[in-house]
Amino acid sequence: MHEDFDISIEGLSKIEGHASLDVKVRKGKVKDVKLKIIESKRFFTQAIRGKQFESVPQLVSRICGTCSIAHLTCCTEAIEKALGIKPSEQTTLLRKLMTYGMMIRDHAMHLYLFCLPDIFGKDSVLDFDERQHELIHHAFEVKKAGNDLSKLIGGRAIHPPYAQVGQFLHLPDKNETKQVINDLKKVRSHVFELVRIFYDCQFSFRKRTRFVALSTPDFSFLEGVIKTSQGLTIPEEKYWDHLHRVIIPYSQATGYEFEGKDFMVGALARMNLNREKLHRETKNDLGKYLRIFPSENIYHNNLAQAIETMHCIDHSIEILESSDFKKEPPFKIKIKEGKGAGAIEAPRGTLYYAMHLDNQGKILYGNLVIPTAQNQIKMENDIRSLVSQNLDKNKQFIQHEIEKLIRAYDPCMTCATHFLKVNWI
């Protein structure tokens, strides 16, 4: 048993963005845990004020490289609600496909490149030996299939130019569509294997957890109602009323509580609350793995991500094979003053945007709530418990366990720092 020690990790690796961690143990008790998000601020909340609404989704897309499609899509939804417009059924389908492409690419990056090294006891995918090379092939093929799907629909996988308020500027090319369908079918078995790996993984950290997620009728991440593991159902535009913003003085991001308590958003929350809405093919093939849910093992967040990847593949194939996308008349937008709010599920959890437009179509005020910010308080509390449970182990072991647990949450620090409020101090 160590009486006094400190753990300080400057610049956590294999996560999106920059964060560091300080842990202080005194007299055999965890005295302090500080998860510091050290991304420099880019002040998007301020930057969007006064901008014309058409340009804003493409601007907030730059909040995050890996989930730019989530920011763009959620902001677009809030603006459309503020203007009182509803996109066509075809536009909604295209948005789902573009989102699926992002999920496949982003989950594959996190699972193969960030998490698998922990499972194989390696520092990095760059250190994988011959036996694991097959999985690197899988990693890049799955990632590419997702990348190409988003490209097909949005024109680019990161900051996609075709996606606009009300419509898409371009329709998917028929030949490229065939190629994308083939690639998705080809990588499906890789994802099956990925599901098995994370199912067999013995990592465990269990704690009573309050889960919150947008529950969508076809598990498409875009439209539905917010549900919680406590049985609450909340319309998405009312989500903000249940959140409580918590200032964390040492972190560049703000944390959130849900009705005064810590909580978790993300793939595990979605799987716990909405798994019966997964695509039928996914449910057919993954029944055994789905029975593990509901689960309070944080590491099952990774298993949930792998299962979601399979769902995204199955539903995308179905939509692409059954749709005949046609050119629609240009969407006419009547500018008026209004407020709109919407939530979607980003790869890392519930993303909320509220937009207030003036009668010229300029943004008067915008508010956004990011998944990692919602998980931040719980992540810290979990690290505290983890350290307390392992005080008899050596420091290196504890440090590695902390890093693994943080990675299981799949935090995105780039996102977490850009919704700063004015009355910060």
Binding site: Q46, R62, M109, D123, L126, T414, L420
Partner: protein, 157 residues
């Protein structure tokens, strides 16, 4: 012999790192033979900032800490390449430079608290930059062109 490479990320959305990971979809197994990733936090935890041939740097410089780190990267690298619009000309991460006075006032406390510089700078305002790959996110083909140029210059291929 392999090209000793580092990837560094400053104030940005890391979109260029994402593009780099997407380029790996097609190039990983070639690069594995000819590139030694000495510093790449997105993929590994044991990173070494020492004797790099080429540093690829994404993001603009917003804090004093970043400025110090960039200078260190420059010192330890034979060549330094700015990747993506933020690194090349500061934008869009430099949007606070153009804020109106009332917005500047709003963010002032935060800037002071976390050691931000008065303005956000592109890399070449602080250190010598040998090559630029522009675009938001960076242009993939231009990146490959620059990488290949250095593979030849350092006689790796």
């Amino acid at each position: 012999m392999k090209l000793k490479v580092g990837l560094f990320s400053f104030t940005s959305d890391e979109g260029c790192s994402m593009i780099f990971l997407e380029l790996m979809n097609n190039h990983f197994f070639d690069w594995e033979k000819i590139i030694d990733f000495k510093y790449f936090k997105l993929l590994k935890s044991k990173n070494e900032l020492k004797d790099l041939d080429v540093a690829f740097v994404e993001g603009a410089i917003s804090t004093f800490k970043e400025e110090k780190k960039l200078k260190e990267v420059r010192k330890k690298s034979k060549r330094l390449v700015a990747i993506g619009s933020c690194a090349v000309d500061g934008s869009p991460s430099n949007q606070r430079n153009f804020f109106s006075d009332d917005k500047k006032e709003e963010i002032e406390l935060v800037l002071d608290e976390f050691g931000h510089r008065d303005k956000v700078s592109a890399l070449n305002e602080i250190v010598k930059v040998d090559d630029n790959v522009s675009g938001c996110p960076m242009d993939e083909n231009k990146f490959l062109e620059v990488l290949n140029k250095y593979l030849k210059e350092f006689k790796v291929v």
